[in-house]
C-alpha cells in the first residue's frame, strides 16, 4: 500500500449495457482490519452517498453482501482489504441481472431453489413423530457438509456453465436438492431427482469446481452434484434393466 492508500475501482451504473455504466475510482486510507464492506460504507458516508450495494448482517451470516473483488466472487463483510493489494476492482456478481452499481437481482437464484423444491416435504412417518437419525448415520455423514449454505450467490457467480446457460439450476440449488434427496424423511426425492436430472440440472455441470473453490462457507456444491449424478445414473440403470427384464417376460 504505497503512501498508505488503496485505490478502489467500483462499477457504477444500472443494468448491463446501461450507457451510464462506468468505473469510478475512490481512494481509501485503510484502517486496521478493514473489510471490503467497511470500504463501501465509508465511500457511501464520506465520498459518494449515491453508491448502491447490499448488506445486512455484517458478520458472514446473511449472504447478502456478495460481489466480485478483483474478478472473483467473495463476501464483502469477511474479506480483509490487506489481502487485496493497492488497487482493487469491485463489480456486481456475474450471472445475475444488475439492479444498480453493485446490487444484483437474485431472482434467477431463488427460482432455482424453487425449481428443486428447496423446502422439506416430509413423509407421513416423519410428519407425525420425530425421526431418530444418529449423527453417525450414513445419511447425516453425507448431508452435514452441505447444510450451511447462506444463499449468497457466490457459487452462482463463479460458475462458467451458468454464464453459458442461464437456465442451468446452478450449484446452490443442486446442493440443496442433494441434502433433501439424501434425507430419509423426505417424501419428494423422486420428483426432485427427476427435476435435477434434466439437461439444465446436474448434467449441465462440467466438473470445473469453481463453485467449490469460491464458496465462502467451505461447501462443495460440486460434491453434491457428483452425488446426485451417481444417484440419477443408478436409478436410470435400474429402470433400464427392469425394462429389459420386462421386455423378456413371457407373453410380452
Amino acid at each position: 500500500m504505497v503512501g498508505g492508500g488503496v485505490i478502489f475501482r467500483v462499477r457504477r451504473g444500472g443494468e448491463a449495457g446501461d450507457p451510464q455504466e462506468r468505473y469510478q475510482t475512490y481512494a481509501i486510507t485503510p484502517r486496521p482490519r478493514m473489510t471490503v464492506l467497511d470500504v463501501l460504507t465509508s465511500i457511501q458516508s464520506e465520498q459518494d452517498a449515491s453508491l448502491v450495494f447490499r448488506y445486512s448482517c455484517r458478520v458472514g451470516m446473511c449472504g447478502t453482501c456478495a460481489l466480485r473483488v478483483n474478478g472473483r466472487p467473495r463476501w464483502a463483510c469477511r474479506t480483509l482489504i490487506t489481502e487485496l493489494g493497492e488497487s482493487v476492482t469491485l463489480e456486481p456478481l456475474a450471472n445475475f441481472p444488475i439492479i444498480r452499481d453493485l446490487a444484483v437481482d437474485m431472482t434467477p437464484f431463488s427460482d432455482g431453489l424453487k425449481r428443486v423444491r428447496a423446502w422439506a416435504e416430509p413423509t407421513e412417518a416423519a410428519a407425525s413423530a420425530p425421526a431418530r437419525i444418529p449423527p453417525s448415520s450414513r445419511e447425516r455423514v453425507r448431508i452435514d457438509p452441505h447444510i450451511e449454505c447462506i444463499t449468497c450467490g457466490i457459487c452462482y457467480s463463479a460458475c462458467s456453465m451458468l454464464g453459458h446457460d442461464p437456465a442451468f439450476l446452478g450449484p446452490a440449488a443442486l446442493n440443496r436438492a442433494y441434502t433433501l434427496v439424501c434425507d430419509s424423511r423426505d417424501a419428494a426425492s423422486a420428483e426432485r431427482l427427476a427435476e435435477v436430472s434434466g439437461e439444465q440440472g446436474i448434467w449441465r455441470c462440467h466438473s470445473q469446481f469453481n463453485c467449490t473453490e469460491a464458496c465462502p462457507k467451505g461447501i462443495s456444491p460440486a460434491t453434491a452434484i457428483q452425488g446426485l449424478k451417481r444417484q440419477a445414473a443408478a436409478s436410470g440403470a435400474k429402470s433400464f434393466v427392469s425394462s429389459i427384464i420386462g421386455g423378456r417376460a413371457p407373453g410380452a
Binding site: 444500472g14 443494468e15 448491463a16 466480485r68 474478478g71 472473483r72 466472487p73 456475474a94 450471472n95 445475475f96 441481472p97 444488475i98 439492479i99 437481482d105 431472482t107 434467477p108 457438509p145 457467480s157 463463479a158 460458475c159 462458467s160 451458468l162 454464464g163 453459458h164 446457460d165 442461464p166 437456465a167 462440467h206 466438473s207 470445473q208 469446481f209 469453481n210 467449490t212 473453490e213 469460491a214 467451505g218 462443495s220 460440486a222 460434491t223 452434484i225 457428483q226 449424478k229 451417481r230
Partner: protein
C-alpha cells in the same frame, strides 16, 4: 429495468466473459479440453511421420496431460470428494510430470531426443 424479469440472455459461445473466475480446477478443465483438440490435429501427422521426435514428444506430453486430467474427472465422478479436487489435481499433475520425464528422458534410446 427490463432485465429484472429474468436471467440474462445466453451469450454466444465465443464470449469469454461467460468464463467466470478462473481457479485451478477450471484451468485443469480448459487444459484437458484444449489438449484433446490439439491431439486431434497433430495425431494424423504423427501417424504419417512416426519418427519425428518433436511430434513424438508433443503426442506424449499431450496424451499425459489429457489422460491425467481425464482421470481427475473420472475419480470425482465415481466418488472422490470434489472438495479435495485441488489436492487430486496436484498429485495427478506430479505423477504425469514424472511419467513424462521418465518416458522422454530416461528412455532416451527410445526417444533419441536429448
Amino acid at each position: 429495468m427490463a432485465s429484472l424479469s429474468g436471467p440474462p440472455a445466453r451469450p454466444p459461445f465465443w464470449n469469454l466473459s461467460a468464463w467466470r473466475a478462473m481457479y485451478p480446477g477450471m484451468w485443469a478443465w480448459v487444459i484437458q479440453r484444449l489438449s484433446a483438440v490439439v491431439l486431434l490435429v497433430i495425431f494424423p501427422f504423427h501417424v504419417l511421420n512416426p519418427y519425428n521426435k518433436w511430434l513424438r514428444i508433443a503426442v506424449l506430453a499431450l496424451v499425459i496431460l489429457h489422460g491425467m486430467h481425464g482421470l481427475k474427472v473420472i475419480f470425482t465422478d465415481f466418488g472422490f470428494p470434489a472438495r479435495h479436487q485441488r489436492k487430486l489435481l496436484w498429485v495427478l499433475t506430479a505423477l504425469g510430470a514424472a511419467a513424462f520425464f521418465w518416458l522422454a528422458y530416461l528412455r532416451k534410446a527410445f526417444w533419441g531426443f536429448f
